[in-house]
Amino acid sequence: MSEATAHSSAQPPVQVPNVEEVLLDELLDRVAAAMESQLRFVTMTCLDSGANFELYYHFASGSHLRHLHLVLPKGTEVPSISGIYFAAFLVENEIKELFGLPITGIALDYHGRLLLTEGGPERPMLKERPVEKRDV
Amino acid sequence: MNEYSIGALGVLVAPILGGLLFGIDRRLTARLQARIGPPLLQPFYDVLKLLGKAPSACNNFQVIAASLYLVTTVLGLLMLLLGQDLLVLLFVVGLGTVMLILGAFSVKSPYSQLGAQREVLQMLAYEPLLVFMVVGIYLHTHSFSVSRLLELDKPLLWSMPLFLLTQTMVLGIKLHKSPFDISGSHHAHQELVRGVYTEFSGPTLALIELARFYEVVLILGFNWLLWHTVWWAGALLALGSYLAVILLDNVTARLTWSWLVVFAWVWGAGLAAANLAMRYVGLARIQ
């Protein structure tokens, strides 16, 4: 084994290309535009960055990924895009359930019971919530 | 040997023969799939084990249904052995099948229900074929009884060759073999789990399995009738169609119920009718 072609640990953070910032009120229009240009819906990603939620909407045209980036303070309601992209219903339910991000109007709403079961953890993906290890 | 001892012997020997046939089926299927397969006696182990399981049934009727299924199949076999009326035999055996279906219907379980619905359609598919075969026999002997048939000195096969095909089809349907296994199969890898058998379990299921031992002998007995003059020729004929069904099972996928009914009625009943028509025309010419 050889030593690596080394990078210093102080390298600048790598950035994701093709990210467009969007505001909450233009979200649906932008998604509709994506639909019109026949972009394939890839998925959504939610990040808990303290006071805010960061939402990425990932789309693809052919093999190229494009992202919409939405930052919003916790507690803000987000409209569902499943009316435009039905495929988003699964991941929207998931985000709603795991992060507690209020997404409204999901085409097929599981009401917070997609993945989690009563009596189990709630909103486990939030940062401030330490995960209790469960023992039998 | 009087007829009672024949009957008693048949009732005792048939399940052994049937179990062995199923054993051969499983063993042969395994060998066709490059496996070693279970021991030849596996079906007997299965039945014994099921008998020893804790009694569990969803309602009393299920037990009655299973027992009627068994008893009618045994009765059917007895009637065959004692040279009784074949048509009555068919309906007596049909009673058992209907009871099995009703037993499956008696539980509000979707898989059992759908399985039962499809079993009804299976009956719809094969029952006419059996009746036509019996009619074919009548046209030779002017009697519906087996005993009269046995007095015939020429094998039926010469004048009823197409019935060998329809009988093979009936066998395939009855044994739930691909492509006819719409309502339940031995291995549960199908959309209806085990179809009609889903809700039967433990000793109740054992009765059904035992009934199936008798049933396979009974159906093969029908095949045997096609060449009754030389006993081993008939047995070979029966074994041949049994092996053909196993081979077919291994080279086809399961098809759907609508296909089955159409196929059985167009091809099965078609072949049967063609053969009967040949016979009728032949008889008319003789007269």
Binding site: - | L28, A30, R31, L32, A34, R35, I36, L247, N250, V251
Partner: protein, 121 residues
Amino acid sequence: MTMLIRRILGNLLAKPATRPFPVVSREPAPGYRGAVEFQQENCVFCGACALRCPANAIEVDRASKVLRFDLFRCIHCACCAEACKRGCVQLRPAYHPPVFERPEFEFSGAPVVASESRPAD
């Protein structure tokens, strides 16, 4: 269909593909990451293996020099073997046989305590 018929009839005539397990046990390949074995005599209880284990199957108490290994947690990734500079942990090419009861494996610096079992439930 003809190809398949030929194939299955060929199967019928050929020897079955079934390995005669358990009559003849087939040795796993030489590099197989199977049974975890500890050479306790060389162990210095540095805890490198425990640190690297993704499944927390190894527990090392550096103070009292005790190593506990939970077979039921082990995912056979061989991280411990990679981590151990002294070669005390190795994955032998053999599989752990099934057990009726949860085995307990632990050893300490000295004296050596053999593995023993406790009832599972």
